[in-house]
Amino acid sequence: MSTESIAWPSATAVSPSFVDHLHEWVTTVDHKRLGIMYIVYALIFLVIGGIEATIIRIQLIRPHNDFVSPQVFNRMFTMHGTTMIFFMVMPVLFGFANYLIPLMVGARDMAFPRLNAFSFWMTAFGGLLLYFSLIGANGLYGAGNAPDVGWFAYAPLTSQTFSVGHSTDFWTLALLVSGFGSIGTAINIVATILCMRCPGMTLAKMPLFVWLNLIMAGLVILAVSPLTAAQIMLLIDRYLGGHFFDTQAGGSAVIWMHFFWVFGHPEVYILVLPAFGFASEIIPVFSRKPIFGYPVMVGASVAIGFISMSVWAHHMFTVGMGANINTFFVISSMTIAVPTGIKIFNWLGTMWGGKIEFKTPMLFCVAFVFQFLIAGLTGIMLASAPFDWHLGNSYFVVAHFHYVIVGAILFTLFGAFYYWFPKITGKMYNEALGKLHFWLFIIGFHMTFDFMHVPGLLGMPRRIYTYEPGRGWDTWNFIVTIGVFFQAAGILIFLGNLIWSYFRGKIAGSDPWDAWTLEWSTNSPPPEYNFATIPTIKSRRPLWDLKHPDDPDWRYE
């Protein structure tokens, strides 16, 4: 060893430079930082996908409009759907799952922190790959740039005959790559929930949000795998001379539909189950009552998980599967209404007899219950196969699934943003701006998606870049488009509120909502190790027990 002295960093602390910060975030394996990165990444794609939606709606504001060309329009709806499903809603839900699950189960991190980081970066690069198509997909002269095959990319439109250039390849690879990320995260969530719970937290004492994410993660593993397989088969068709979906050589277009929807329908539940989780945490706290019928809620969620694997072909009632298969998928699809109905009733039961405080998170959750009710009822109409022969692939179905994805999922997500913002940042959001966001968004949402049902009933198919006058669709489409601007204003206020409150918000304290689950027992924002000592719990509401030692929950559960 040399005797030379080693230069010691000077005692005066230098604040870390931007590069140091960046390095810290890029190399982090902390579940909270990864959660935040998922969420911020998703918000960027929310804006991009929102701009695409706005372009679609401006084009459709009146018949024979020529705001964009058909080619651009087709790319817009493909990119809008793909972006919102795979690069907005899924990542943001994974972000909240990542951030909250360890805190809620009293753990110091996810089970596999490095897998967690790997999964995030796979998802992130998947999104970049999709958007790189705008630059890189122009493989042949005259070939398009961004993918234009629709987000479910039916064969044979994706074959090289009909999709020249590389746009479809970018789409395929983006989903393949982000699919690996999703499966990694799902495995991580399952392992964390099964193995990392704090002492006393039996499965029956987990917060419902954790239960719902466990089921969601199970569905991801089951549903994303067939999608990944299908993407590989599509690549084999396109480059290795395969004929899986090549109808000119005996392949089957219908097989692609089965592969896609056996992913695609559970995917809806992958997205909506965590939304149920948000509602099941927020509604009790703002009603000041425990969730009504916890065991039934868990049972209903598990039932939804199982049934959702057997309903996929209700997306295919019009492809000519025959009367018997159609009938099977009618009964399986309608069955799922029972556990979903039970959940709505239990949320009502939770509010019943409570003292409901309408803070912004609760406003979004009440609107969610209302909108999810309507989405469920239009879902029953679509499950009725003959009715679906009209409604399927019309604007009615577009309105229906936006009622689910925006009216239910995005609304609870906004609720979740406001509810956990104080925990994640340590600052309180601005309540007035939050309420303004709520009212703008709910007006915009109902203008757009209530009225969108009508042109569907009047025979307007989806994915048309323009339409003929005299079909009775003009007024409806006009109103639908106007609603978009209210929603966009709401989103801008939401983002502004987040940024402003992050810098200027009041200090929130560790438990601003007087809530009951473990994440509120630690500091805001939580330290890197989450809990100084691992908590031990005796009931589903450990903080209630702590605050009411005379009347603890564990006496009744």
Binding site: S69, P70, Q71, P156, L157, T161, F162, T247, G251, S252, A253, V254, S287, P290, F292, G293, V296, V319, G320, A323, T327, I331, M334, A337, V338, I342, F345, N346, G349, M351, G353, G354, K355, F358, V366, L373, I374, L377, I380, A383, S384, A385, P386, F387, W389, H390, L391, N393, D450, F451, V454, L457, L458, G459, R463, I464, Y465, T466, R471, D553
Partner: protein
Amino acid sequence: MRSRGSTKWRILGSQIFVCLGSAMAALADPTQPLSPTNIFAPASTPARLIFGLSLFVLTVTGGIFIVVFALLLYSVVKFRKRKNDDGREPPQVFGSNQVELAWTVIPVLIVVALFMATARVIAGIQKVPRPDNAIEVIAIGHQFWWEYRYPALGVVTANELHVPVSDDNRPTPTFIQLWSADTDHSFWIPRLAGKTDLIPNHPNSMWIDPHETGLYLGQCAQYCGTQHAKMLLRVYVQSPDEFARWIQEQRQPAITRNEITQGQRIFETTACVNCHKVAGTLANGRFGPDLTHLMSRDTIAAGAAKNTPENLRQWILNPAGIKPGSLMPAMQLSDPELDALTVYLETLR
């Protein structure tokens, strides 16, 4: 708090009224058409069966909506936190097995009823055997137009489907086989039947029996590529006599004159003949619409434009001007050539 709450419900209430109002408007008075493609104005048995089912489903779901919405409205109004709240927590209720049982069993019964009604209509439409006197049509979806073949009648046409009316005394349903030449399409005439997809390598079929003569509109309902939007459907329902006359005319070859006109020469010496057929002449292409009786059709370009000499000329000059993404190339003809060609096409009656 109170005043804010009531404003909220007034706004929400008015929105609901608007929704219900619009739904009622869509339902109201099918004879005074709100839209030529209204699914609630059925004119053929499959559409009528679906209409009946949809009314049943709408009634049941509407009933559920009213009950659950009333409960939600009641609980948010009744159980909101009051201004003079004493700050104590409300009674902590964890659940009730009786209530859970009730709201499980009742939905199960509703689902059973809806399923039975649905299964009956599925069988009533999909399990109907083809009667011997049915008209048989093969509809072939192309990017971005429709080919119709009447194999028993020896007729081939494009974009405008003609079928006979089917009244109760003389039921003459039309059974349509659905094929695709390229990508997926979907055949949807809302007033006549629900949609059925045309999928390559996967032949489908459907049937209609329109009860009233007239023109029924629709359009392709499965995304099929760039010009999915202008792949319009037109079904002409004719009286038996008119239909018989139409078939008679369509079976004739094109009227040929003794001397070949300049327009016909241009048609037969350019790429037109690679794709189009004019029966009784050299033109024998199969890729594009059959033009033998072009002038018997009201529209060109799959319903995208009226069939006028001016539109026809514009179409030949630059198809992408009317239908961007159309697979017909611009033929790069001079003005006199265009005029001559248009004159020739106008003779194809």
